[in-house]
Symmetry: none
């Protein structure tokens, strides 16, 4: 904490009564204050526009506008790196919520990248490249990651299918075989539906890949190729938010690696699918 808010806090007790009230309001609602006009700020803080104006000038700003701009500039300074993940509880300000989530997501991506085993990534890329058919399993939030992965694979001409229905997952897994890939997504690594499907696929001879949180878990134990995404500390509520971002991050790395290693095979397909969507829209008269 530095600059204007710090100055306010320090000088607050040497101010006139109404100015103290105003300073207090600004300290408590800084992020809101910068969006208010001088009249609104006066109203919200129980003072008058004249007082606010004098207040700003006594702090040696050129006027309210100048004060507001400099305060707003101060408020967007990036958060200093916080050592650990932030938990979220009731009654936080919007600003602290946004910061906490940012911290969690940034960390979760950094951690995941740092601990990523590139040898396993390479094996996964090769398996996906060589796969005849690719099945993607995941429930709820992880289902979304699986679906994202499917979208990417389909765009480069892969036969990839995500099933969010647990019966269909098994049905599909049953028809896999040697040369096919089954890719399981699960934050906990214990999701029974996903586990079942992966097991079934493995029994039919498919190559199995897992993307779970770090540490031992039943799904990764089952997999031939094991990828991990960062997990939040145990007991942390809403851990799946950050983990989902981390999982998508891994999917992006996988997909980009696939593209980069087989550029000539895939990039034309990707461009083509992009152009076709555009063309199709034009033809509809847009």
């Amino acid at each position: 904490m530095s600059g204007i808010l710090q100055a306010l806090r320090e000088q607050q007790h040497h101010m006139n009564p109404k100015e103290q009230i105003l300073a207090q309001f600004i300290l408590e609602h800084a992020h809101e204050a910068v969006h208010l006009s001088i009249t609104e700020l006066a109203g919200r803080s129980g003072t008058s526009a004249a007082t606010v104006s004098r207040f700003c000038r006594s702090l040696l700003f050129k006027g309210y506008g100048d004060f507001r701009m400099k305060l707003s500039a101060e408020l967007v300074q990036p958060v200093p790196a916080k050592p650990s993940y932030q938990d979220i509880v009731a009654g936080n300000t919007l600003h602290s919520i946004a910061q906490a989530i940012e911290t969690n997501h940034l960390r979760s991506i950094s951690d995941t990248t740092r601990q990523l085993d590139l040898t396993e990534v390479q094996r996964a890329v090769d398996a996906l490249h060589d796969a005849r058919r690719i099945d993607l399993y995941g429930m709820a939030t992880s289902g979304m990651v699986a679906y994202d992965c499917q979208q990417k694979l389909v765009r480069i001409g892969k036969m990839a299918q995500h099933w969010s229905d647990s019966h269909m997952q098994i049905t599909s897994a049953t028809s896999l075989g040697e040369g096919d890939v089954a890719f399981a997504f699960s934050y906990s690594g214990e999701t029974p539906e996903t586990l079942d499907a992966l097991l079934c696929a493995k029994e039919r001879g498919a190559t199995t890949i897992s993307l779970t949180k770090f540490g031992a878990n039943r799904i990764s134990q089952l997999a031939d190729i094991r990828l991990y995404a960062s997990s939040l500390e145990e007991g942390m509520r809403r851990g799946d938010m950050a983990s989902r971002i981390a999982q998508l991050h891994v999917v992006d790395i996988l997909f980009t690696a696939l593209l980069s290693l087989h550029f000539d095979d895939y990039v034309p397909l990707l461009e083509q699918s992009f152009q076709e969507v555009k063309k199709y829209r034009k033809e509809k008269g847009r």
Copy 2:
């Protein structure tokens, strides 16, 4: 380079002549520009105050003051360690790919958080809280974000529905009305199917929210509440990877804010849905 200046650079060539001149001036003298009043800026750049005002509004700022404040906020950011987003090409090593993707995702999240207008977030949270029914529109990658948002909302007992089928989107939008919310997700902000659905919902009186890349676009123009996620530079391949992460980041902030502001309403429901899924599994014999 990101945010406002980036948007100016990208959109400069689609502007009116005087607006191009103005954009050019701002790009060249950004640090000076934020200290000028609208009249001074008009004078220095060879345009008129009216043009500057229109310019700011056409970029979807609330007015010149808003534009100036956000630009000023952008300018005080220290130069990031890694100056720009990394593009991905053929033949990279796995390590450089992972690093590039990490850089892009980290930046994309930081940029998005910094540019987030918390007033708009608050309005969106209120709208979602009060909503009788919530429709979520988005195609392809943005469809996934919409779906993610639906999952979260449903878990706290909201009637939320994502349609990935463009006909069903319209069908559903048709039955919306006053007190309902339509939430459109689109990276480009121009996706016709999403635009149509949002328009239809708006015509029926629903409150409309948009989450698009930064800068003026047709979807956000239509929306009552406008949220933005960071965009990569024009011409960058695979821009949607980072944008999807950024959009999910915004969804997380929205949802957490919703939870935090109405803790007692929602958290019990969330815990309950979590416990019920567990219980249901136990009963199946696991």
